[in-house]
Structures are given as C-alpha cells and as structure tokens.
C-alpha cells in the first residue's frame, strides 16, 4: 500500500512530478529481476510473494520477466493479503483481498514484493502473515519505490527500484496498465 488515506483524491490534487514514466518502469523491473536472479539462481529454494492489493502488479511483471529470462516456468509465486494482520482495526475495518499461496515456504528464501515502502507497517504485517505459512530460511523485501526517511518501524528493503525523498503531505501514486490504464509513478501533493 502506497500511502495513508485514499481520501486524498477528494481534495485538490496537485501533481508535483513524474517519478518514473512507462519506459523507466520497464527498465527498472528488468534490472530488479536481474538482481533477484543474481542472488537467487537457480531459484529452486526461492519463493516470490506479492503483497495485496497493489504489490501484485509489480510481482506479476517481475515473475514474468524472470520466467522470460530463465525459461523456467515452475517458479514458486504467490500472492498474500495482510488485512487481517493490520494494527489499526480499532480505527477502521478494511475489507480483505485474496491470498493465494499454493506451495510450502518452509526453509525457502522468500522475497516479499510491494510497490511502495513508506511507514513499514504493511511489511511488519506481511512478515507476521508470512510466518503463519511456515518458517522461511530467509525473508527479503523488494519495492519499486522507497520513500526514505518516513519509516515508523525499523524496516528496510533489499532491492529498490528508486529511492525518493518526500514529505508526509505528499503521496506517491503508482499506476499500472492492467488496472489504471498506464504505467506511471507520480508524486502528488494536496
């Protein structure tokens, strides 16, 4: 999940700048896929897990890229929803998305994949959720955008598409062709 509060869009929005445009996104994804291969080939002990709802567009592309690069089709790839592990249920109840993990993560190296790393709370919840599926040997984190200096928990990513500096009132919006009609990462301001 990118940033706090979807209601941002009801207010006056100002687009400050484009962080990544379409072509940069596909180059970045290709680079990230190669970094993953560098550390994880031959992938027999590795599992990729996209975090719902917005991390799965990135993870779908990454896994496609890895399949194309290696010719390997039997890659352990799943999607995980972390709604039931959130820490803010007293404030608001969120509706869950689908979790689909059809392999054991026991003893595997798991790479969690999300679009934006911001406060770190989603990743905290994701790690708790992941442990309920087994005991992985190692857990790594890959994000497309790392919003530096905004962490509320001691969490950092192992693979980063692009790091940016932003202030709390700003929002990073990642859009995907499949869902929103175009690939783009924008920095928005209220």
């Amino acid at each position: 999940m990118g940033a706090k509060g979807e209601s941002v869009f009801l207010a006056q929005i100002l687009c400050l700048k484009t962080i990544l445009a379409q072509q940069q996104i596909s180059l970045t994804i290709r680079r990230l896929a190669n970094q993953l291969l560098e550390n994880h080939a031959p992938l027999s002990q590795t599992a990729f897990i996209g975090i719902q709802p917005r991390g799965i567009y990135l993870s779908d592309r990454l896994v496609d890229e890895i399949r194309a690069e290696t010719g390997q089709q039997d890659i352990d790839y799943g999607r995980m929803d972390i709604t039931f592990y959130r820490d803010d249920i007293r404030k608001e109840v969120h509706l869950p998305n689908k979790t689909d993990i059809r392999f054991s993560i026991e003893g595997k190296k798991v790479v969690l994949i999300d679009d934006v790393l911001y406060t770190g709370r989603t990743i905290r919840a994701a790690m708790d959720a992941l442990m309920d599926f087994g005991r992985p040997e190692k857990v790594e984190l890959l994000v497309l955008i790392d919003r530096r200096y905004s962490r509320e928990l001691p969490i950092q990513a192992d693979y980063i598409g692009k790091s940016i500096d932003s202030i709390i009132s700003q929002k990073v919006k990642v859009t995907w062709q499949e869902r929103d009609g175009r690939d783009e990462v924008l920095l928005l301001d209220e």
Binding site: Y85, E92, V93, A129, D132
Partner: protein, 309 residues
C-alpha cells in the same frame, strides 16, 4: 463503515451489499482456515461474551472457534448455572458483564426480539445467534455461502425450504436473504406448519406436495421439526410426517433432477431426513458446518470496531 449496520440482529436489516461483503470476507477467512496456522491476530484486543440463554451445540462451538481463530478474548455464559435462576433480569446480567469491558455480545435467546432490546440499551455490538422464532442470521449466511460455493451464484438458484416453516427462525432468515439476493424460493410443508400469508409477505411460492417441490428445486434446505416449540399437535405423528414430508433416498433417486440437500442441524434422523440421504454425497450438511466458522469470523471481524463503549 464496511457494513450499513452496527449490529447483526437479523438479515431483515441488511442490504444486498452487506450480504455480499460478508460472503466475500468469509471466503478470505475460509482460506485462512486452510493454512498451517489457522489463526489471525485481527481481534486480539477485542473481548466477546457468548450469552446463551438457550441450548446450542453447533452455533455455540462455531462462534467460539471463530472468536479464537480471530484471537479475541472470550467469555461464555449459559443461563443454566447462572444468577438468572436467582431472578436477575437480562439487562442487569448484560450490564454487569459489560462493566468488565466487553466489546461484543453474541446472544441466543428463546424470546424473539431479545437482541433488539439489548441493542437499544447497551453500547456493545450485538450479534444475534438465534432469537425465538424470529431470526438466525448467521445460519442463513452460511447457508447462502454454501449454496454460492456449490452453485457458483445465488441469483436465480431455485431453493426449496422444506418442513416446519412456522416455528423456524432459520427459515425466516433464509427467506429474507434468498429474496434479497435474487434466488427463487418455494416453501413446502404441511399446511399447519406454513404461516397463512407467507406467500404474499415474502413473494414466494407455497407448495404442499413434497415431490413437486423437489422436482422444481436445485437445492432443498430441509428444516428440523421443532418439537420443543410446538405446544399443540400440528401433525398427527412423526411417522406420518416422515411418510408425507420425509426425504428418502428412494424419493431422491426417482426425481428427474439432481437436488442438493442442506439441513441446519440437529437432524431428526428418520423424521425429516433419512440417514441414507443425510450421509450421502448429495448432502452439504458438513460443509455447512465448516463454512459456519468462516461466516462467523467474517461477521465478528466486520463488526469489531462498532462498539461505542
């Protein structure tokens, strides 16, 4: 707010959107129940009291398991063995329990409207686990979930509710729910056990002949003959009831269509359902029980921040 209501008192108060939200959320909880660790921390700071003023096996265990799978703290209360026998009123009992910081109340009571009364007087979120002859909303939700899982949809599915419609809160909740979700419904049973104007009230067909009802339907939800709620003789004997309205293997095999059998339990074997039907591959009865936990997790989860205490 994720649901349009603070409490689950009956299906009557839910919108079709609420029902869809609950069924959809239950689907995700059903996946949780297949994991190595069948438990999530969602309600870890929520306390729930299960107030059972009437006997129950399935519903009570199902709610308790659902609460534990959600990591809630639970307290159980049953009327027998409590101060109810010393004359304490319902409201006094509940207020005393709530003063110990309880967020949600799951309640079963033999008086219709008892949870509605509580909802007007206490700040906790209330979930009706069956009130008299009024409603049993979580049963209807798990029935709907089971139908949807089996048939892929509720819209246009032909459901026959068979048996004691008059005394059945399960029937009433099912009628509200199935009509709201666009299913086709027939009620079937002896004329003495079918309320006179139910056809007009719910927009359903009434069929007194069991074979005709079964030939028409995709799913038969067979209700229990509620011997404890009948203070007059509405049919002459259980054996006569079984002959006219009991579902046997032979009857099912003689139908031109495949009918799926459901039953909310507990079954009176040899009365409304013969054993070779209840235990057959046509029956969804045990899936219903399994789905009940996921449905109750969904309801508890969605209403968990509704307490105004």
């Amino acid at each position: 707010m994720t649901l349009s209501t603070r409490h689950l008192l009956g299906i009557k108060d839910l919108t079709p959107q609420d029902i869809t939200t609950i069924l959809e959320t239950a689907r995700q909880f059903k996946e949780v129940l297949q994991r190595p660790v069948k438990k999530v921390p969602s309600l870890r700071d929520i306390t729930i009291v299960n107030l059972f003023y009437e006997n129950s096996t399935r519903t009570r265990i199902s709610f308790e398991l659902a609460e534990k799978r959600l990591s809630a703290d639970t307290v159980n209360f049953s009327a027998s063995g409590s101060s109810v026998s010393k004359g304490e009123t319902l409201l006094d009992t509940v207020n005393n329990i709530l003063s110990m910081k309880v967020d949600m109340v799951v309640m079963r009571h033999s008086a219709s409207g008892a949870p509605h009364f509580l909802a007007r007087h206490i700040p906790a979120a209330i979930i009706n686990a069956g009130d008299g002859v009024n409603e049993h909303p979580t049963q209807a939700l798990l029935d709907a979930y089971s139908i949807q899982e089996h048939k892929g949809t509720l819209e246009g599915v032909k459901v026959a509710l068979i048996g004691d419609i008059m005394h059945s809160r399960v029937a009433q909740s099912n009628l509200y729910l199935l009509k709201k979700m666009g299913a086709d419904v027939i009620v079937c049973g002896p004329p003495t056990l079918i309320p006179k104007h139910i056809g007009e009230a719910f927009g359903v067909k009434v069929e007194y002949n069991l074979r005709r009802a079964l030939e028409w339907c995709d799913v038969a939800n067979v209700l229990r003959i509620q011997l404890e709620r009948q203070n007059q003789v509405l049919f002459s004997s259980l054996r006569e009831y079984n002959l006219a309205y009991g579902i046997s293997r032979r009857l099912l095999d003689s139908l031109p269509n495949d009918v799926t059998i459901m039953h909310p339990g507990p079954i009176n074997r040899g009365v409304e359902l013969d054993s070779d039907v209840a235990d057959s591959g046509r029956s969804l009865i045990l899936q219903q029980v399994e789905n009940g936990v996921a449905i109750r997790m969904a309801v508890l989860y969605l209403l968990s921040n509704q307490s105004s205490a």
